[in-house]
């Protein structure tokens, strides 16, 4: 039977996790959109802190979002030993990626992440463009190359823009 398509509502996902004080960094396509790549995505990828107390808060947040595994197996965050756990929530798709390719997980990404104000009181930590490029590169998937080149070009344009501003001052 075909799965019911759920409407992607990033504000609902992020606000719920924020309300439960979950520590996480937004990664993947949605993070790239926040930085300006203007690509399309219908889901959220996050790297949560895997500290015990945070996993407990994450569990509460996911309960609130009515999260279920896409593969219909039982959702057990204590056995989060797979690279990606794909979930369906009442606010669309959400993927948990404890240790994205080429990184050491939350503590690694947090160092260069920035808090971005998205409106409606939502202010998630978002992985830096450099770290997002590192993840894409580490995937070593040829189909990701255009996305990586686009991101690298964005980084370059942003640098040129900042350089222009500093010259104007």
């Amino acid at each position: 039977m075909a799965e019911e398509a759920l409407v992607f509502d990033p504000y609902e996902q992020l606000a719920t996790l924020q309300r439960h004080h979950v520590s996480f960094v937004v990664i993947g396509a949605f993070a790239r959109v926040i930085h300006g790549t203007a690509e399309l995505t219908q889901g959220m990828d996050i790297t949560p802190s895997m500290r015990e107390d945070n996993v407990a808060r994450l569990k509460n947040g996911l309960n609130d979002l009515e999260a279920k595994r896409r593969d219909r197996r039982r959702l057990d965050l204590n056995a989060l030993d797979e690279p990606v756990m794909a979930l369906r929530t009442r606010a669309g798709e959400l993927k948990l990626v404890p240790e994205p390719a080429g990184t050491r997980g939350y503590d690694d990404l947090r160092r260069h992440a920035s808090r971005e104000s998205l409106g409606q009181g939502v202010r998630p930590q978002v992985a830096s463009p450099g770290d997002l490029a590192r993840m894409l590169g580490a995937l070593e998937q040829p189909e990701q190359l255009p996305t990586l080149l686009r991101l690298r070009r964005l980084i370059e344009l942003e640098r040129e823009r900042n350089r222009g501003w500093s010259h104007e001052r």
């Binding site: 409407v7 992607f8 990033p10 504000y11 959109v33 926040i34 930085h35 300006g36 790549t37 203007a38 399309l40 995505t41 219908q42 080429g102 990184t103 050491r104 690694d108 971005e116 104000s117 998205l118 409106g119 409606q120 009181g121 978002v126 450099g130 490029a133 590192r134 590169g137 580490a138 080149l149 686009r150 690298r152 070009r153 964005l154 980084i155 370059e156 344009l157 942003e158 823009r161």
Partner: protein
């Protein structure tokens, strides 16, 4: 893209600390740090030496410059993050609720 960023990317992907990369390449750790921070730029030879020490290669190939996406990316950069998300949701066929004050 800065050479130092590529060194940091290669080093972290290889799971090396700056001290370990310093030992592998014979370069001072403080120099590696300044390259990675963008304070100074590494020479191409040093960039390649660091990337190789991390177990990667960096093929240097000249290709035509592609500026076709610059207008779109440049326009997106002028927007604040909440506007970029709003445009995404609009593209997906739905407008987000108005920002609460």
């Amino acid at each position: 893209m800065r050479g130092g960023e590529l060194i940091r990317e290669a080093r972290t992907r290889a799971g090396l600390t700056q001290i370990e990369l310093s030992r592998l390449t014979g370069r001072e750790r403080s120099v590696l740090a300044r390259w990675e921070q963008g304070v100074i730029s590494p020479p191409v030879e040093s960039l390649l030496a660091c990337v190789h020490a991390c177990g990667f290669d960096l093929p240097l190939v000249l290709v035509p410059l592609d500026e076709s996406m610059d207008a779109e990316l440049g326009g997106s950069l002028l927007l604040p993050p909440n506007e970029r998300v709003r445009l995404l949701l609009k593209e997906l066929g739905r407008e987000p609720a108005r920002t609460r004050r």
